[in-house]
Amino acid sequence: MRRIGVFVCHCGTNIAGTVDVKTVAETLGKEPAVVYATDYPYMCSEAGQNIIKDAIKEYKLEGVVVCSCSPRMHEATFRKAVSAAGLNPYLLEVANIREQCSWIHKDMEAGTAKAIVLGRAAIAKVQLNAPLIAGESPVVKRALVIGGGIAGIQTALDIADAGYPVDIVEKEPTIGGKMTQIDKTFPTLDCSSCILTPKMVECAQNENITIYSYSEVEAVTGFVGNFSVKIRRKARFVDENKCTGCGVCTEKCPVKNVPDEYNLGLSNRHAAYIPFAQAIPNVAVLDKNRCIKLTKGKCGLCSTVCSAGAIDYEQKETIVEEKYGAIVAATGYNPIKIDGYDEFAYSQSKDVVTSLEFERILKADGPTDGHLQRLSDGKQPKTIVFVQCVGSRESGSSHGCGKEYCSKICCMYTAKHAMLCREKYPDTDVYVFYIDVRTPGKNYDEFYRRAVEQYGVHYIKGMVGKVAPQADGSLMVQASDLISNEQLHVKADMVVLAAAIEPDKSARPLATMLTASMDTNDFFTEAHAKLRPVESPTAGVFLSGVCQGPKDIPETVAQAGAAASKVIGLLAKDKLSCNPCVAHSNEMMCNGCSSCANVCPYGAITYADKDFSRRQDGSMIRRVASVNEAVCQGCGACTVACPSGAMDLKGFSTSQIMAEVDAICK
């Protein structure tokens, strides 16, 4: 039996008010294993801690029980004190006699009796505590950022600035993401490309940053500080090192009718293409599904015109394998498909467009060279109707593509669009049909009010019920005006739908690879909604940008920086100390059934054939489980799943919990 010391805290009158601490100390002092028991007004104070330290030395204590506030409050404090006195910090148990006893009970007798029982349970548990030593694992000083939009770019730049190498994996041929497609940014109306392009260039030039464009993450193994990632580099059939980005191949390519992704299919590109003028890397790509040489084996025109000799039709996709200490998910978003909304006639009329398409129409490098035009006949629209909340804030399953959340950015970009229309073309009538105008943010509501007051945009509270294309090419918009209690019919030339945004499709398979959790909308879950908003619950995985929830650019950049600082904090360490309260398997009892591995949410359990041969029994090789202590988070799911009782959890072992149960039920 271990020599136990019991220390009862008064916490001023917080505990002593309803618990007779002297009686508790005296009674627990009579427990068989207890060699020393005392009480003190404030155990957590310097003096209180010294009492514990002195007692450990004087009475040669082998276990310490502190009856005080919640272990969530001061367990760490007392562990430190115990450790300072030379005892293993995990030979300490805290009995919670404040939050779960004195504060909730008014009756002194009942409170005291309960405190004694809780003390006994702690004594019973500490008898069985094992001295635990937190393991250490090394940190690979390199970070991976998945996604090369503004979120990924900012995170990478901040990490690189701190002096750590960082790789960006981007599935498109260029970094930049959605922000490259946007014309102007609210609330200042500065040009999106003008503020983004320098950052993209900085990424390319920063020697700490490696850009894997046109690449995807294939597999992730390992754990915090030591991830191993396979990156699949898709074949672009152009040698990145030789290509100068001159663009001659893209002009000469005879295949001219491929829908241009950059313009959301509103215009065409060639099969050999550079996504847009400021692409980083500024390297051409051959579209392997459309290139005549790659599909039929003929043509080869681009190769003959390329003076750098960069075209390589034989290029194969390659797998790069690299080790990382931290991974940042920055996979971004897409507008939802709105073909299901028949009432808005999106698939019937070219003049019904989504907001991102409208953005392309407004932008100088877009399909209309920045001129506000109808896509059907090229005429300048005189009446434009904006519809808010298309697919956002929907509980309905009637359309099957609606989202329950607010997409957050639509109110502001619609105000921006409306304002830009009225500014460039003052003779245009602009209507915005809204349910609520949600503009929290610095200078945001002022921005919206400017659209109304200064630019004369008609804001109408009510939803559009129907858009009907007319024979004369106009669009009849039927909507309700809730304030005047009327049904409105607006003859419009163009209708712009603020489509909801959803996480990129690549996010879910990535989350599976990272064992990071997601919510029902496929947004990554943060470790704590308020206090750890940029960390995923999986250690070493961080979140940046819209992949965690709808955000505008300033918020995305702020979060990107926050994620970077968390990564830097991690990479700055040489070694990580692990939580020692993890599962471990008794190899002699394990029968290799895989029950534990099946329930492990972290993939911490692996199996290996182990040689148990002994001379007298002959050869015996058995498959047994082993726990990777750096990956295990200590939930204990495996301990219950194990049919042979081989799996146990350090710090919360089966025998410890049983001892507590026994002590409480005595």
């Binding site: 804030r393 309905g396 309700s480």
Partner: protein, 126 residues
């Protein structure tokens, strides 16, 4: 009054609290101009328990039961079912029928869509 509200809610199976007051139902309603109270008002007035006003209103007979509001509602509120339930509340009170069933055939004309005729019988007969 509370009973009436309860009756309408039970008969329709609609939870008006799901409404986010976007007005898409009224924006889509083909019978809007003929109605004194519009689909979104039905939802709000049922929520407030103001059923008797609705029962007295012609609006409950002007609803075409085309269910466009149900189809388009982003929050699955189903306003037309409320209109129907209010109508039922009237029909269930003996002698309160807006029309006698015999009167319906006289009012038919050839242009009337089949759906409207069926719906008329549902509205007017007991």
């Amino acid at each position: 009054m509370a009973d009436l509200k309860e009756q309408v809610l039970t008969a329709s199976g609609v939870n008006p609290l799901k409404c986010m007051r976007c007005g898409k139902c009224s924006g889509t309603c083909p019978s809007y101009d003929a109605m004194e109270y519009h689909p979104h008002q039905f939802v709000y007035m049922v929520e407030k328990g103001d059923i008797e006003t609705l029962m007295k209103s012609e609006s409950i007979y002007k609803c075409l039961s085309c269910f466009a509001c149900i189809e388009r509602c982003p929050r699955d509120v189903e306003p037309a079912k409320l209109v129907e339930a209010v109508r039922l509340a009237v029909i269930r009170q003996q002698g309160q029928n807006h029309l006698k069933p015999q009167q319906v055939p006289e009012m038919l004309d050839e242009e009337l869509p089949q759906q409207a005729i069926v719906s008329a019988f549902r509205k007017y007969s007991k």
